[in-house]
Every structure is written in C-alpha cells, then in structure tokens.
C-alpha cells in the first residue's frame, strides 16, 4: 500500500515559479504525480509546465474543485512560515517543506498549528517523499527516469535525515532486489515536522511494509525516541539503522555545542557510540558499513542474502 501518498493524491507547489520549484514540478509531473496547481503571489495566470499558477492557496483549491491533499513548499525562509500557515488554514493535510535555514521558532510554530489542525508536516530542509511507481512529492530521486532507476517498489520503508542518503540507501535496496514501500526524507533541522517515531505508526499500518531502514546522524534524541517507541508498541517491523558522523565523537572534532542546560532536557547528549548502544538495546540492528544494509534487511526478513 505505502504510506501517506496514493495514485489519487493531489498536491500543489507553493513558490512554484522559483528556480528549484520549476524543476521539481516537472520531475513530479513526469513521474506521474498529480500536481494540480501552484502558488506564487502576484503570478496568477501563468503556468509552469502546464500547471496553473495562482496568487493564493484558496484559489488553487477552488480551481481544483475538490480538497487538495498536499503541498510542497519551496518558498524562501523569510516567507515559509506564512506559506505553510496559509496551506494549513486552507485545509491541506500533508505539507512537505523543502526550504532550509528557517529559524527554529518559525518551524515550531508551523508544527504546533499543524498539530492543532490535524495536518502533518514533513521537513523542513528535506527532499520530500516517494512511493515507487505511484507518486513523487518533492525533489527526491531527481528527474523521473533517475528516480525510477533508484526506487523500485518493495517491502522496505526508508526514513532518512539526509535527502541524498535517502536515495543512496533506497538505490542499494533496489539493486539488492528488495525495493521500497515508501521513502521519506525527514529533514536535517533541529526541529522537524515528523520524526522516525512519529512516522512509525503509518508504516506499522501499511501491509506492504515489512521492514524499516533509517539513516541517522549525531545530534538530537530521535533515535532514543524511536527506541522507546518500538519497545512500548511491540512493533512488528524489524529496523536496520545506519549512523554516519561517528568521526565527530573524536576529541579534536567537537563542534556542535548545546548550552549545558540543553543536556538536562534531552538527557546527556548521546555520542554516536551511545546512540548505537541505545538502538541495539531496543532490538534495532545497527550496521557499520553502508553496504551492509541490504543483507541486514534480508536477514531480518528471513530472505536469502
């Protein structure tokens, strides 16, 4: 089945006339996604690769003549909050925020409003999500034929903090004859709309998904949160994790500093090693090398390597 997207899923692109958005729109259209409108204030009347452009989300929805399911937001950081609030308040339930460098305060406000309205945000600073051969929402995988090469349909759900690594990992699963149910680039910022644990219930409810692969990095508590979730929820899905950035644990590399009070909120900031220990304690298999992922998944699935 897959999560969040379907063949009938409709979405708009906010900031559609921008350089990146113009490419992304074509890629999604070529992939077969239903991009039903675009929004750039002041540019009503134009079209981008045949997609009509409007001044407001409300106009785009009205033009479509039915509720629009999603929006891909590529608007610059100073205006992103406004665009996302507009989407939420016009009934859009799934919002992918591609934009990076948005101040945390703005992101937290968007996420809180989305919560209140029953909407879900993916990102920011992400490449979107893709259900192979069904729908591509965002720049993930690139041009349609490249995305098709990297993403074959299959039983593995992929979640990654890095956009590029979502495709690298999915490609290796495709090459190994496994394939992907849904791949989600969840974004690289300190505060994001959907963490691993928050997306797990969707994968759990999806019959097609039989295993999960996550790509993760130092910083934050998402892995601890995921470990807690799997323990508390008796999940049926085996998880394989790959962690990058272990070199940052070395003394001469210490870069990121949280204020010391930050540690009492998040628990002592996990080093990469500590995160790995925590994940393994929760039954999550952590692989050392990126090319070990497909075999680890096959093992978990009880399939011949």
């Amino acid at each position: 089945m897959s999560i969040l997207l379907s063949k009938d899923f409709t979405f708009i692109v906010q900031g559609i006339t921008g350089r990146e958005a113009v490419n992304l729109t074509k890629e999604c259209l070529d992939y077969g996604s239903n991009v039903v409108g675009g929004v750039t204030p002041g540019r009503k009347g134009r079209d981008v690769h045949g997609v009509p452009v409007f001044d407001t989300v409300a106009q785009a929805v009205e033009n479509h003549g039915a509720p629009v399911d999603g929006s891909v937001v590529t608007v610059p950081p100073a205006f992103t909050k406004d665009a996302v609030l507009e989407a939420i308040e016009n009934g859009i339930k799934l919002i992918v925020i591609v934009t990076e460098r948005i101040p945390r305060r703005d992101v937290a406000q968007m996420v809180e409003l989305a919560d209140m309205r029953g909407a879900r945000i993916i990102g920011p600073n992400c490449l979107g999500l893709i259900v192979p051969e069904v729908c591509k929402m965002g720049g993930i995988g690139g041009p349609a034929k490249d995305a098709a090469k990297a993403y074959a349909p299959g039983p593995v759900g992929v979640m990654s903090r890095s956009g590029g690594m979502t495709t690298e990992i999915s490609s290796s699963l495709t090459q190994a004859g496994l394939g992907v149910s849904t791949a989600v680039s969840i974004g690289g910022d300190a505060i994001i709309g959907s963490t691993y644990a928050e997306l797990m219930p969707y994968f759990e409810a999806d019959e097609q998904t039989q295993a999960i692969v996550i790509y993760t990095e130092p910083g934050g508590r998402m892995e601890a949160q995921l470990s807690e979730w799997t323990s508390e929820n008796d999940s049926r899905l085996p998880i394989v994790a790959f962690m990058a950035g272990k070199f940052m644990d070395d003394e001469e590399m210490k870069g990121m500093s949280f204020g010391h009070a930050g540690t009492i909120v998040e628990g002592k900031e996990d080093t990469a090693t500590e995160k790995i220990t925590r994940l393994e304690a929760a039954g999550i298999r952590v692989v050392e090398r990126i090319d070990e992922i497909p075999d680890a998944v096959k093992q978990k699935l009880g399939v011949a390597a």
Partner: protein
C-alpha cells in the same frame, strides 16, 4: 551565535530583568573609574567566550578602586582557553541571601521551548537535575500563544519556592521566556539569579546563545542595541586559510554551494565530497579503512565548473595533500559531468595529472554517462552506483597508501 557575558547582561536588562550596576571596561583605568562609581567591593570578570574563568584566574575580587585596576590589568592580559578577553566586567560584589537558576532551552522532542527553574542556583544545573530532581521546576511553552506569567509561576512553585520569592521570581522567568522567543535564542540562562539581603532579585550572570539562522532578522538587537559588527560571528575557533578561501569562492558565485573545513584534520587524502549525509558517511568510511583525510567538505546544489574547480584546487594546495578522492552519494540536482570538469580542471590548472591526482571518482546520478566520458578521456579511475560509498572510500585509501592492485 554566542554572546559575551556583558552582552548577555544587556540583553537581559533590555527585557526588563533587574541587573546590577555593572561596568564593561577595556582598560585598567576604566576599571578603576567603574569601581569608584560603584563605591564598594567589586568583582572583576574576564570577558571571554569560554567557561572556567574562575579556575583560570579570570575572576577576582577587589576592595578598592586601585585593587580593581590592578586586577583588571592582569585579567586583560590573561589568555583563557586560547582566547584573549574583549574586556572585563566590573560588578558590585553582591550581598547574596540565596542563589537561584532560571533558564529557557529548546526541547527538540516536544518541539517547544522549556522553562527551567531551580532554588539551587550557582552550580551546574545538570548536577542539580540529577541529584536533586525536586529542586528543578519545568514548564513547556506554546509556540503560538502569548507567554503568560502564570506559566513561569507554576514552574517556580514546583520547586517549593513560595512567598515574596515566588512573587519576585515569577516576572523574571516570564520575561526570560519572552526574550528567548523574541530574540530567537537557543539558550537563555541566568545563573545565578540572586536574591539579595534586601529581598530584591538580580541577575548576577547571564548566558545567551542565538540561533545562527535567525541572526539576519535580529538586526535591531545585534547592530542597534549591542553594536555587534556583521563580521563578528564568534565561531568557536579561528577559521584556517583553507576555510576562508573556500568560503570566499563560495560567496563569489551563487551557483551551488561549497564548504570546506579542516579544523582537526591533518591527513594526506583530500576529500572533495558532498551531499550532506554523504559527506559524513564518506569521511567515516575513509577513516575506518585507515585513510587520513586532510579536510572535510560539502558540495551542494548545482555548482558551476569554476566553483568545483576552486574547491578542488584549495584542497590540493593544502600542505601534505597528495591525492584527492571525489565522492558523493547519488545525486539528483548536482551534475556529475560538471563536477568532473571542475575537479579535472583543478588538477590541470595546478599542473597535475588528473589520472594520478584523483584517487577515485564516485558520483552516481544526474548526467553520469556524460561525466564518465570526461573521466575516461583524462584517465581518472571512477566507479558507478554498483560500487558502494564504503568500497569507493576503501579504493581511495588503497591508492594513496600504495597498496592498490
């Protein structure tokens, strides 16, 4: 972005939180004058962006203005953790009855700011939270609703503080929370928040950090009130020539993004790598297989040939770099052929043979067929997506260590 104590005190004062009558001084003479004005015992504090000032001798007490000048002179010339002070803070030595802690931080899991309060101030808050958890009160704040005083009151009352202390501490914590939000802080701490013998509350020390992403929209505070110059970014360390040069190349051309870091790296294998997580993964892979990176780098978006060339040359010109490895995870937006042109040109412009200098080229993705033609023509060893990032990194290490087949 980090702030000096004297700046953090100003920020706190602007938010309506009581501070002592302090003076920021850059000479011993100024310190003497400040001490004269205060007309009582003072404490002289080094203004550096480092902790451990007390231990390093950067905090001294003085009973007379002359003594204050003497201490100021010494401290102004005292290096702490590799930093020279910007100046000293001359503070009246306070008559403290009790010390409290007030702070606001981001809770990334809850996705909300979190207020923290403790009646055991003056010491490490992590220690207090661990050993005396009921002496730490907490409260999450909505991101959308106005911050109400009662929310601060609740967090304080949870520690058992009551009476006049509760009444006086409440607006202080509330104002700290509002300043955290209004100024896009990632950390706002007052430790200690002191209750003086006369019952008044005063911030004796403050520590603030602002999110870098928000610096652009906090000009009124930064340039106006605090008079911090735009170039004054307060990075944890001084950028190297390599880092500065790469930043300059990046800034001069808007096509794509390049970044370079070499702080903490001293190897012989230059890394021209990219795609966020890809850079981390590749750096790990090189090190795990015995390689010694000379640097870390990032290539993002769709860089021009000139930008890719510029980065390659900077890496190649670093002391001790013998070869470079050009590797990324699968790219959709970045063009393989453009990066190939850039790195090959970098070698050529330095009079080096690309085939010899580029240990391995592993970038699968957009326009790869065109890229492979270019790499073939110049004799550069490359691999496609069927070779993992791990294996490609291993190949680069083999080549540079001369253990390659």
């Amino acid at each position: 972005m980090r702030f000096y104590e004297y700046e953090a005190r100003k920020i706190v004062e602007l938010a309506g939180i009581p501070v002592t009558k302090y003076g920021f001084c850059t000479t011993a003479d100024e310190a003497r004058k400040a001490a004269e004005e205060i007309a009582g015992p003072v404490v002289i504090k080094s203004q550096v962006l480092s902790g451990g000032r007390m231990k390093a001798g950067g905090v001294k007490f003085a009973d007379t203005p002359d003594e204050a000048a003497e201490h100021a002179e010494a401290i102004l010339n005292l290096e702490i953790n590799g930093q020279m002070p910007r100046g000293v803070l001359v503070d009246p030595k306070a008559e403290v009855k009790q010390e409290y802690y007030a702070g606001v931080v981001w809770d990334g899991t809850a996705k909300r700011p979190l207020m923290l309060f403790s009646d055991m101030g003056g010491i490490d808050i992590e220690e207090v939270a661990e050993k005396h958890p009921d002496h730490v009160g907490r409260g999450h704040l909505s991101n959308l609703l106005p911050i109400a005083d009662f929310e601060a009151k609740q967090a304080i009352a949870a520690t058992g503080v009551t009476g006049k202390q509760l009444q006086r501490a409440t607006p202080i914590l509330a104002r700290l929370a509002r300043l955290f939000r209004d100024n896009d802080m990632t950390l706002a701490e007052i430790n200690p928040l002191a209750e003086l013998t006369d019952g008044s509350f005063v911030a004796l020390d403050a520590h603030m950090e602002m999110e870098n992403e928000a610096v652009g929209r906090q000009k009124k505070l930064l340039r106006g009130r605090l008079e911090i110059a735009e170039e004054d970014t307060r990075e944890p360390y001084e950028p190297s020539a390599f880092e500065r040069n790469v930043a300059a190349i990046d800034a001069a051309d808007h096509r794509g993004v390049i970044q370079g870091r070499d702080h903490g790296f001293e190897g012989n294998l230059g890394l021209v790598i990219g795609a966020g997580g890809g850079s981390l993964t590749l750096t790990d892979a090189v090190r795990s297989q015995g390689g010694k990176p000379a640097n870390y780098s990032e290539i993002g978006g769709n860089p021009s040939v000139a930008k890719a060339c510029g980065l390659a040359k900077q890496v190649l010109e670093k002391d001790g770099v013998e070869k470079i490895a050009v590797m990324m995870s699968i790219v959709s937006n970045t063009r393989v052929d453009i990066v190939a042109r850039g790195v090959i040109k970098g070698c050529l412009e330095l009079g080096k043979d690309p085939g010899e200098t580029i240990a391995i080229f592993r970038i699968p993705g957009a326009w790869e067929e065109e890229g492979f033609k270019i790499l073939d023509r110049y004799g550069v060893e490359y691999c496609d997506r069927s070779v993992s990032m791990w294996e490609a990194a291993g190949r680069a290490v083999e080549k540079i260590q001369g253990t390659a087949a």
